[in-house]
Amino acid sequence: MFYREAGQFKGSYAADQAIFTIPQDRVAMIVLLVAAFAGVPFILNDYWTQAILLPFLIWSMAALGLNILTGYCGQVSLGTGGFMAVGAYAAFKLMTAFPELNFIAVVLLAGLVTAGVGMFFGLPSLRIKGFYLAVATLAAQFFLVWLFNKVPWFYNNSATGQISVPPSYLWGLQVTGPETKPWAAYLFCLAFVCVFALAAKNIVRGRIGRMWMAIRDMDIAAELIGVRPLVAKLSAFAVSSFYIGMAGALYFAVWLGAAEPTEAFGINISFLVLFMVIIGGLGSILGSFLGAGFLVLLPILLKNGLVDGVGLLPVTAKHVEIATMGVLIIFFLIVEPHGLNRLWQIAKEKLRLWPFPY
């Protein structure tokens, strides 16, 4: 009733292959984007940006990256934290070595560096798969974090071993550093995420995406019909790491401002992003956003509910929070193993049929 496809005919192949074939979807998306770009910046404050919007956007970017690799190409990776560290440190080195460099270029270059590193650590995927590969990517995770801890060149020999972001400007507007206006940081991340989400959507719809999905669904059959596993797997690792590297650069430069490898890019980060991908839905772009939103908001809600609402001690609340997260993850996997994205699809189906059950 509200959401009806019947009667909406497509007159051309282009219309049939559009991302949003139904006008309602298109309109909703445009309204959402206009609101995000033109509405939200006027009402947000420091807390909203720092605690909710920036983490949401940056984790979405990381989840997009991992979803390309795990969801579309079927290669499980636990090295996300390490790759984000590569992006962050590449951004740091670029910003300190070339202070004049445009910050957009910095983020893109950081992504490219990470893509190279990701391809290198993706090489074992040509020979091993499944859990074996997951453990192999753990090697990347631990090795990279160790490297950034040990080699002083990466953190410019600073005494603390931390890296902290120098201020940078875009068209006279500060986007990194402590003086940044919340809306500037928000708009910068939003623009990046929107552009690259669109790019990801189009990559996975096209030839390359189909190649990845063929490898994911059955690698031997894919090989037989002419997909080259080398090209498919390494390109998936490259594109995925590119996104994760950009996420790492934004995470460090725009959101945190300062980072220390063991804390900021530990193994927990890898798991967090993997959770986002799984809870959002493997192999869906929308799912990456839903998963990131869910896992960003959930701890905040739990914390507010437990500490302010029930009045638990913060320490106990932390433990309860961890346990509750675990319960929710198991619950989710049991109820809807295909993730939030699937729930959204079911909701759309229901709306299509409403008010009739069949």
């Binding site: 499944g130 859990f131 040990k150 031997i220 675990g326 198991i330 996997l333």
Partner: protein
């Protein structure tokens, strides 16, 4: 040139000049650490064999067991032997709960979903364990001898930890018991049948749910042993659960489905990382233990993807 020399020549020269005293000590301490890794890896293998599930929660299971044990002894003053028995019952109850509340509903899901579920389980156990017993570091003292073994010191002039010898003996007994259990008992045969083919096992009347409870109980017992050993060595604290991550390269090396593989893999990883840390570590600033095991496993995988004792998977189209 200096680097090439440092990598390929001087460590070996050093090993030769240290021979046999220090070098043997490094090897022995590596072997004994390896036994500890193998204890954790054993739990993984058991569950992987029976359900094809990589149980990430094994490390937290060990932590939980050690927490319960030390909590019972410290907070309630229960004597050691009784505390162990109670903990065994707790682990069995936990296995039952896990089957009831989780595994039952996850039948026929993809591997990655099962894997994620066990990570969720790890979070739950960690949270609950901390709520129940507090998160401060606990000392676990069951009367296991500690410190350097005087006999080894006097006879061979070697420094060997008593605790690690106990761990090695325990691991040996555990593996022997598990081998008998798997090979000779009815339940063991059923377990192997389930591991081989779920559907075939079901069709000859083996109850998958019961088997899972048994397997998780056995894994819980193994976790308890691992938890006791690690807890005695370095105190019962959260970092114990991270040992699970160290058990993963051990599994890769040994093959996911092989109990002897877990032991051999553990020994190789233990010796490998100790030797690398002592002789090659200083070249790059030390602390390479953190990742060396993974790189070792990775290099190994490139030559033998199924691990030392793993089942060779032949794929046909």
């Amino acid at each position: 040139m200096e680097i090439v020399f440092g990598v390929f020549v001087s460590p070996f020269v050093q090993m030769w000049t240290d021979w046999p005293g220090f070098f043997l000590e490094v090897i022995i301490s590596g072997l004994l650490t390896g036994v500890m890794y193998a204890l954790v890896a054993l739990g993984f293998v058991l569950i992987f064999k029976a359900s094809g599930m990589l149980n990430f929660a094994q490390g937290v299971l060990a932590l939980f067991a050690a927490l319960t044990l030390s909590g019972l002894m410290d907070d309630y003053g229960v004597p050691g032997w009784l505390a162990i028995i109670i903990t065994l019952f707790v682990m069995a109850g936990l296995a039952w709960l896990i089957e009831r509340l989780m595994l039952r509903y996850l039948v026929n899901q993809e591997h990655i979903v099962l894997f994620m579920a066990t990570i969720g389980l790890a979070y739950v156990l960690e949270g609950v364990g901390d709520i129940l017993w507090g998160s401060d570091v606990k000392v676990l003292d069951l009367g296991i001898p500690q410190g350097a073994s005087g006999w080894m010191m006097d006879t061979f002039g070697l420094y060997v930890e008593k605790l690690e010898i106990v761990a090695a003996v325990t691991a040996g007994i555990l593996v022997a018991v598990l081998a008998v259990f798997f090979q000779k008992t009815r339940i063991g045969r059923a377990l192997r049948a389930v591991a081989d083919d779920h559907q075939a096992a079901l069709s000859v009347g083996i109850s998958l749910n019961t088997i899972w409870v048994i397997v998780w109980t056995v894994a819980g017992v193994v976790a308890l042993v691992a938890g006791v050993m690690w807890g005695t060595k370095s105190g019962v604290q959260f970092s114990l659960s991270l040992i699970a991550l160290k058990a993963l390269p051990v599994l890769i090396l040994g093959g996911f489905t092989s109990i002897p593989g877990a032991i051999v893999g553990g020994l190789i990883i233990g010796v490998g990382e100790k030797v690398a840390e002592v002789y090659w570590g200083p070249l790059v600033g030390g602390a390479i233990e953190n990742w060396f095991a993974y790189i070792l496993a990775l290099v190994f995988l490139l030559f033998r993807p199924q691990g030392l004792f793993g089942e060779r998977i032949i794929e046909r189209v």
